[in-house]
């Protein structure tokens, strides 16, 4: 870094009174701040010795102006000691674990020795010792008599926030701070070590203040209002308060006032000092400003999102940036950004004058700051800056220019800048673009890059930053530039691609019927600036015509061969030797998120530059063509024959009939209720089913009859905009409106609106919209639609918040992970190994084919296409080749290669080529050392969070099981909650049971936890016989598979008899029982008949060709013991349970599986490597740790990293008491102090020491 000494670390500690006095330049006494003339009073909190805020004045201490003076501390001598609020709890623990008389720790000498040794050992081995400390503290605190001096200990209590009292037989006595301080002073240094306090940095008596440091004025500047009044900072107010009380207290002490007066004043002082430190301390009334506003004191300044750490230290304001509204421009390249001239004249780049650019630089200086292209400043070799705006003779300056000068010139075409749109959810939210200075006032971007930024043009604004140093510019050009980010590391497929109208256009262009005249062709070729021979026309008579496919083919490399799928018809798109042979171009081949598309292959096989150029041209071509051809959308595009509409009406007639039938059944109570549901739920589910079936068949009708040339249809099918569902809603029927995934039912009593009869359950009354958007909604439908719309809006708002917080936690937990030179994934701060190979195979998903390092079949096909066919190679030859390659490939690819070679039987030559190609492609797809894989993982899981559904207690199947899914479940997984909200088990059975439904059912009943309460139909007290008669329900008995023996067994140990005939249990009631029948009932109901604890329900499912049991509730250990259960495959979603029974490795696998299941279920594509890294990070410590303040972040050794995340103040205070040292190795700490982070390009260091010359 810099040549001067740099900060090696930061040690935290507590200021001792001596140090405070030494630091202090002035004792502050006077509570008044200014005299009548408005001058600061010496010895007041505005004492000029503390520094000066006035531009003209010089500091009384150091003689500097306010620019150079660092500020100086003063002090307030407190007449009585005052307890520091932040340390109150520490003091409490210290007092409790040490003797009140001799001050020694309340442990016998030999135990002390033992613990010292143990602590020493743990520290030396870098092992966690928190638990040991806790044990020591507990033991000491529970000792009643001092083993050293024999003093009996009294019970001590902490009254929040700062008062301590001792309980003796005679009652409780308050300990005043002086007593507390005296006791703390007595604790010897050796004993403090056992209590996790570093006596060198933090003697406990320093936690009771005798002198208070007064921060320099720069920390609490006063503002002069327009009216001329001064407004002081909150801290200044608080200090004045303290001074006032100090003064009164001192006077009273001097006057020998009675002790109650003194005590009261002491308490007041304590209050002011407490609120000075923390105005939100528990048990204190917050100090308020005159206006009633709560003061922001020291703790509040650090804390939270608006606090120092997160607002000013983790993120800083920057120069050389611009922000304005964005708009699209398909005519600029994807890696360019259009910058308004006005902006370009404000932003500057420092360019060093050399012999080669001298004339150009002179021209810029001559133009000055108001004429473009010009310059704003020059920096002379002596370091002096000249602002060109106010220079009269620019010509003179220009001539004086010579190599060694630096010119800060206007932004020009070709400069590299960073472009960003918030929220920056993944790394593609900030990319480097080349500048194009353009007229008008918006920032312009190519529509193809909208996807990574998640930008549209409805008023979005974006930010632009100009990297100043050569290093930064180079890094931007090499790593951040758009073309190097075409493939997303989240799913290994393009995230930059053709969108919207351009897709429509490409479809129209490349479909078979499109023929272009010569002039049309010329226009298109001019648009892409095509230079080369014009292909022969496809049609010659009557005039020469070209197909759109021919034009598109001009954009492809001549040797490009590929087959992919189109999204329009789901048929093959064939490219042979750079010619589009068949199929249409649409989202499937050039769009985003499509793996193995034409765009993807170009980016992977021909490199980013070719892919970028292809995109540039495609967008421009599509734009020109659609301008030429014209494309519009109107009601006519939604036309279907009238017949269809009456058919739809028929469909709804039918569904209404079905509904009436269902309603009749429901009202007569005949509706079949699946287990675990109420009749109402079952009915609702059935209604929804009927309605959605009706909706679907209406939709189907539309889809089959709408014109293939309808604009709406084209847009939906090509993936340009809209879905087929939108078409259904516009033409056929809008369908069910829902609130929280249920039919709308809230509103008036027993009805939604007063237009309905009460308890009207009909589709119309519960929010089914029969009209289509074209036919128009009636007022009631319109209302329901608005209700449903509002629910959606609320859902989105809540979801963004939740997923945003999840992302923050993920980033914080994983931020320090990087790939080291040896391929291991390590933490930057402590150098701990998290993975031995990134993603287990070391492959970067951003350099992969949808997660696969190489697609062997692609390589085989392309090699076979280029090599002449010959005699197939022998099996032995292939094996030998594979053997050679086995060192350099992983098992999976090797197997794939073997299979492909076996299938295609290539000649020797081809085998050689294929193997070589596979190895080289594999090596090319490996992640590079320095890659910040942790952040990428956090982003890849966090970014799609907003797309996850919220509030999904999803019902799998026909309402059998409710499982927590979507975002809440994902949060639950990363939270590592003790038990899942919906514990579930998956129990496969041994073959004997798996093939036999009856046996499987029996087993399920055997597993399901059943109590007598589950079987009861009624309970009566027979006073004549003095018994409680419990009538069991025949149906329930059968359902639960309970036999007479089960019940008799369960009733053992209870005075009861079972009559099987009548199914009655008679429980003898003793006198006590008769008095409290409710209790007896409770007791009988809770008797377990059979099953396994916590398994609330067990149901048999057919899965593939075997029967399995799924349960609600989880109890791994006991279920595994059940005969007939295939325990080798039993699973649960309770990760802690897995960790307990199978160990940490199984828990890791379970985390991966659970997270994968959530994302897959929601249809989100996230590379498995990210989940692996997440799971490995959560389990490095040997137990499952949460992603958040109690888990992974707490494990961080750096104080600052923890403080910057959450609970800043407490973290810092603890660090101070323990005398922790922050060695500033992690990323967070380094950003806080403004240093380069040791990840990525910042990781490079010299291994050789220049001093020793080794």
């Amino acid at each position: 870094m810099s040549s001067a000494a740099s900060v090696a670390g930061i040690r935290f500690g507590i200021l001792s009174p001596d140090l405070i006095r030494k630091m202090s330049v002035a004792e502050i006494i006077s509570p008044d701040t200014y005299d009548e003339d408005g001058l600061p009073i010496p010895t007041s909190v505005m004492d000029p010795r503390l520094g000066t805020l006035e531009p003209g004045q010089r500091c009384k201490t150091c003689g500097n102006t306010y620019l150079g003076c660092p500020g100086h501390f003063g002090r307030i001598e407190l007449p009585v000691p005052v307890i520091h609020v932040g340390f109150a709890k520490t003091i409490y623990e210290l007092l409790k674990s040490t003797c009140r008389s001799c001050g020694r720790i309340l442990l016998p000498e030999d135990e002390c020795k033992k613990y010292h040794a143990e602590l020493e050992r743990l520290r030396a081995n870098n092992l966690p010792f928190k638990n040991l400390i806790y044990k020591i503290k507990q033991k000491a605190m529970n000792t009643q008599v001092c083993p050293h001096c024999g003093e009996k200990q009294l019970k001590l209590e902490l009254e929040k926030p700062t008062s301590f009292s001792e309980m003796s037989e005679s009652g409780s006595t308050k300990l005043n701070p002086s007593t507390v301080r005296a006791r703390l002073e007595r604790i010897p240094d050796e004993d403090l070590v056992l209590l996790d306090i570093n006596p060198q940095t933090s003697r406990p008596e320093w936690m009771v203040l005798t002198v208070l440091p007064v921060p320099p004025v720069y920390v609490r500047p006063s503002i002069t209002l327009e009216s001329g009044y001064r407004s002081e900072d909150d801290l200044t107010h608080k200090l004045v308060d303290i001074l006032r009380v100090t003064q009164r207290l001192r006077e009273n002490i001097r006057a020998g006032s009675p002790s109650p007066v003194i005590e009261e004043l002491s308490d007041l002082l304590q209050y002011h000092v407490t609120t000075y430190f923390n105005n939100e301390a528990v048990g204190v009334v917050p100090a308020k400003h005159r206006s009633g506003r709560i003061l922001k004191t020291l703790a509040q300044r650090l804390k939270g999102k608006e606090g120092r750490f997160r607002l000013n230290l983790s993120g800083k304001r920057v120069d050389f940036s611009a922000r304005t509204v964005i708009s699209p421009d398909p005519n600029i390249r994807v890696n360019e950004v259009g910058v308004p001239l006005e902006v370009a004249m404000q932003l500057t780049v420092a360019e060093r004058v050399t012999a080669w650019n001298l004339e150009k630089m002179r021209m810029l200086v001559r133009n000055g700051s108001d004429k473009y292209p010009g310059a704003k400043y020059i920096i002379r070799p002596d370091g002096k800056r000249v602002r060109l705006k106010f220079v009269a003779n620019l010509e003179e300056l220009a001539t004086a220019l010579e190599p060694g000068y630096v010119v800060e010139r206007h932004l020009q075409d070709g400069d590299i800048v960073l472009f960003n749109r918030q929220p920056s959810l993944h790394r593609m939210s900030i990319m480097a673009h080349y500048v194009r200075v353009l007229p008008y006032k918006t920032l312009r971007l190519n529509p193809a890059v909208c996807t990574p930024y998640n930008a549209d043009f409805d008023g979005d604004e974006m930010n632009l930053h100009v990297p100043q140093s050569e290093e930064a510019q180079t890094e931007a050009r090499e790593l951040l530039v758009v073309e190097n980010n075409i493939i997303s590391p989240r799913y290994g497929a393009p995230i930059i691609g053709v969108i919207r109208d351009f897709l429509t256009s490409l479809y129209l262009l490349t479909r078979d019927e499109t023929k272009l005249t010569k002039s049309e062709l010329a226009m298109l070729l001019a648009a892409i600036k095509y230079k080369g021979p014009i292909p022969p026309p496809a049609v010659k008579d009557p005039e020469p015509m070209w197909t759109g496919k021919q034009v598109f083919s001009l954009l492809l490399p001549k040797d490009f061969n590929h087959i992919t799928k189109s999204s329009f018809t789901n048929t093959e798109v064939v490219v042979k030797n750079g010619q589009l042979i068949s199929g249409v171009i649409d989202k499937g081949s050039v769009g985003v998120e499509k793996a193995n598309s034409i765009l993807h292959r170009l980016a992977r096989d021909y490199g980013p530059d070719v892919a970028r150029q292809f995109l540039d041209n495609v967008v421009r071509l599509a734009n020109t063509f659609i301008e030429l051809k014209g494309f519009s959308f109107a009601v006519d595009d939604l036309y279907v024959p009238d017949q269809i509409h009456s058919d739809i009406e028929q469909i709804f007639k039918k569904s209404e009939n079905e509904f009436s039938k269902l309603l009749a059944q429901y009202q007569s109570g005949e509706v079949e209720i699946p287990p675990g549901m109420t009749a109402e739920q079952a009915f609702e589910a059935d209604v929804l089913k009927i309605l959605s079936e009706a909706r679907d068949s209406a939709g189907k009708l539309i889809r089959s009859r709408i014109s293939q040339n309808s604009s709406a249809f084209i847009m939906a099918k090509t993936g340009a905009r809209g879905t087929m569902l939108n078409l259904d809603q516009m033409i056929a029927v809008v369908g069910q409106q829902s609130v929280r995934r249920e039919r709308v039912h809230r509103g008036y009593r027993r009805r939604v609106l007063s237009f309905f009869k009460q308890d009207d359950l009909s589709p119309r009354a519960r929010g089914f919209v029969y009209n289509s958007f074209v036919s128009g909604l009636d007022p009631l439908e319109f209302f329901f639609h608005a209700v449903g719309g509002r629910d959606g809006l609320v859902d989105t708002a809540v979801r963004t918040q939740q997923s945003g917080y999840m992302q923050r936690r993920l980033i914080n937990a994983l931020e320090s992970l990087y790939i080291d030179y040896d391929g291991t994934v390590r933490t930057a701060d402590e150098g701990r190994i998290i993975q031995f190979a990134y993603g287990e195979d070391g492959v970067d998903p951003a350099k992969s084919d949808h997660g696969k390092a190489v697609t062997v079949s692609n390589i085989v096909n392309s090699v076979l296409a280029t090599t002449p066919s010959g005699k197939p190679a022998t099996q032995e030859y292939i094996e030998q080749k594979l053997q050679q390659a086995s060192q350099r490939l992983n098992k999976k690819i090797l197997e794939e290669l073997r299979a492909e070679l076996g299938k295609t039987n290539p000649p020797r030559e081809a085998v050689d080529k294929i193997v070589e190609e596979v190895v080289s492609k594999y090596n090319a797809s490996l992640a590079e050392p320095g890659d910040a894989v942790g952040v990428v993982t956090a982003q890849s899981i966090g970014e799609p969070g907003t797309q996850l559904t919220l509030r999904t207690f999803h019902f799998a199947g026909v309402g059998e099981q409710s499982i927590l899914k979507g975002l809440p479940r994902l949060i639950e997984i990363v939270d590592a909650r003790r038990t899942p909200t919906t514990p579930i088990m998956y129990i496969p059975l041994t073959p004997e049971y798996a093939s036999n439904l009856a046996k499987a059912r029996k087993l399920a009943k055997q597993i399901q936890h059943t109590t007598i309460g589950d079987l009861i139909s009624e309970m009566l007290v027979n006073y004549k016989r003095g018994t409680l008669e419990v009538q069991l329900d025949a149906k329930s008995l059968e359902e639960h598979g309970v036999t007479k023996r089960d019940i008799e067994k369960a009733l053992k140990g209870v005075e009861a008899e079972y009559d099987e005939e009548k199914r009655v249990i008679s429980v003898k009631l003793d006198e006590e029982g008769l008095m409290d029948i409710a209790r007896v009932r409770e007791r009988i109901s809770s008797i377990k008949v059979k099953g396994i604890r916590r398994i609330k329900k067990a149901t048999v499912f057919k899965e593939k060709d075997e029967y399995v049991i799924r349960t609600e509730g989880s109890n791994l250990r006991e279920v595994m013991e059940v005969p007939g259960v295939d325990w080798r495959r039993v699973k649960t979603n309770d990760i802690y349970e897995i960790a307990e029974v199978f160990g940490i490795e199984a828990a890791r696998n379970a985390i991966v599986e659970e997270a994968k299941a959530v994302l897959e279920d929601q249809g989100l594509d996230v590379d498995i490597r990210h989940l692996l890294l997440l799971a490995d990070m959560m389990t490095v410590s040997g137990s499952v740790k949460q992603i958040g303040r109690h888990g992974v972040v707490k494990l961080k050794s750096s104080v600052l990293a923890r403080a910057a995340y959450e609970i800043s103040v407490q973290t810092l205070l603890e660090a101070a008491a323990r005398g922790e040292v922050d060695s500033l190795k992690g990323n967070v700490e380094r950003i806080l102090i403004g240093r380069e982070i040791q990840v990525g390009t910042g990781m490079v260091t010299l291994l050789m020491s220049h001093e020793k010359g080794e």
Partner: protein, 88 residues
């Protein structure tokens, strides 16, 4: 607890055979040293596995032992991981 079916013979549950549990083996002291040298780290920088972990108990490994774990991998076919027996 659960009523035992007479027809089915009760199997002894062996957690190592469960699908979620990968292969664990203890490295010999030489192998352990070689591993630490290869990665240039001390033991405390490796991922941990608690002495109370069921698999550690089965292997009767002691604190400081390094356990080699051979995972089935979706990406690489097979992947090797190491954990050191460490912590409380």
């Amino acid at each position: 607890m659960v009523k035992k079916e007479k027809t089915v013979e009760k199997e002894v549950v062996d957690i190592t055979e469960h699908v979620l549990v990968p292969k664990h083996e203890v490295l010999s002291p030489e192998e352990a040293e070689e591993l630490l040298r290869r990665y240039g780290v001390s033991r405390d920088k490796l991922p941990y596995i608690h002495p109370s972990d069921p698999m550690v108990k089965r292997l009767k490994a002691k604190t400081g032992d390094i356990i080699k774990i051979t995972r089935r991998s979706e990406t690489a076919g097979e992947a090797v991981y190491y954990r050191v027996v460490w912590g409380e």
